[in-house]
Amino acid sequence: MNFFFDVGRYFSMLKRVFARPEKHRMYFKQLFLEIDNLGVNSVGLVIIISIFIGSIMTIQFAYSLANPLYPSELIGLGTRDTLMLEFSSTMLALIMAGKIGSNITSEIGSMRVTEQIDSLEIMGINSASYLILPKIIAVVFIFPFLYILSVFFGILGGLATGPLVGVITIPEYIAGIQWLFFPYYITFSIIKMIFFGFLVASVPAYFGYYVQGGALQVGKASTKAVVNTNILILLFDLILTRLLLT
């Protein structure tokens, strides 16, 4: 029963979120703050994770494709396709659900328990829209850029590490990342990122917005938000892959 209650309340919250804003200028101001807070502040983490994952995948592909019958270019191809199709979209979204999602839940949840949300409501402001809409737009907007950044730095990580540890040469790696390239993979992953961005912002916002109690409950809501967002990301990954790729 709780599941249906939560689903219903989530959609009724979304209805309020997408209501007409009181003053567009204030929402835009908030949007730029959120792009900086949720998006730009995540760039460093995305770059670090992507470089390491790109490097590790190159070494692992080299290990798996050690048979001399396989061309070395497969290492570059494998690294590129794994990054483009799954890591830089789904895995990155799962990581961001932890970073951005818990941030959103704890921020909105703290505002709820300290009556800041009641204060907005009493002023006549649609608190759901004012607090959540800029976050959703900011995350949906920034996620495709994070995806591109992640693919780029992941491939760069492989390019730096592969030759360094002696599993592949630079020309072989570069030939590999250009081999059998399908631009549709990028379109597909950007579509996924838009969906994931929406989930990463809206689901944690829901858990924060309806939190009741104090600091302990905000912490619990944060954990619940991350777990539920991760499950939904994987579910949508499955659905979108089935719909768009097969």
Partner: protein, 251 residues
Amino acid sequence: MIEVKNIHKSFDGNEVLKGISTRFEKGKTNLIIGRSGSGKTVLLKSILGLFDVDQGEIWYNDRDFTKMKQKDRKLLRQEIEMVFQGGALFDSISVEDNVRFPLDMFTMMTTIEKQKRVAFCLDHVNIEKKAFRLNPSEISGGMQKRVAIARAISLNPKYLFCDEPNSGLDPETATVIDKLIQSLTKEFQMTTIINTHDMNSVIEIGESILFISKGKKEWVGTKNEVLNSHNKKLNDFIFANKLYAQMREGN
């Protein structure tokens, strides 16, 4: 003026408000007093529309709040401000920006006009200029309450609600906050409703006092009448503190 008529409110079958009717006058500090759990906050939040009442009417002058559409309620809310128990200041922005927030949201004032208004409001509650750029977490509890009051008066509200505005403050600061709310009520001719269980506030600023017990209206009067009432429940509440019992004996 705000008038409530026979309001009832239940939560999961537990009736918290049991047919309360009363009137809160303009230009007066109207106090709601009662023990913890007596229904004070539920009454306040019901009047504000944060809770929908099960039965009864709430009138803001000649407007029936209970029958209003959401759109009209939103418009009315721009005439209402509230000072929360914890201040409820937005902690991500400065003191100055907190007071400016309602002006940014609801007025077409120029930047200079807004600056003047913010300075006027903060000056009225005795906040020094050097605190304007600080964040709420960097100022004391008493100052936070004063900033919350400054934010509340920034749009010249007709109705001001205060939920235990001096809880957690030392007696001297609490008195300053009480006097400040009273003087602003007179100056701006607001209808002010204060929810409190602080007897000092009752004695200091209780121009009209509503005592509720177990969700029912028990007694209505003024600060001059409260110490000499014959209502047993009210006396039990007030004279739980021996100081007030002695005050009554010494008249």
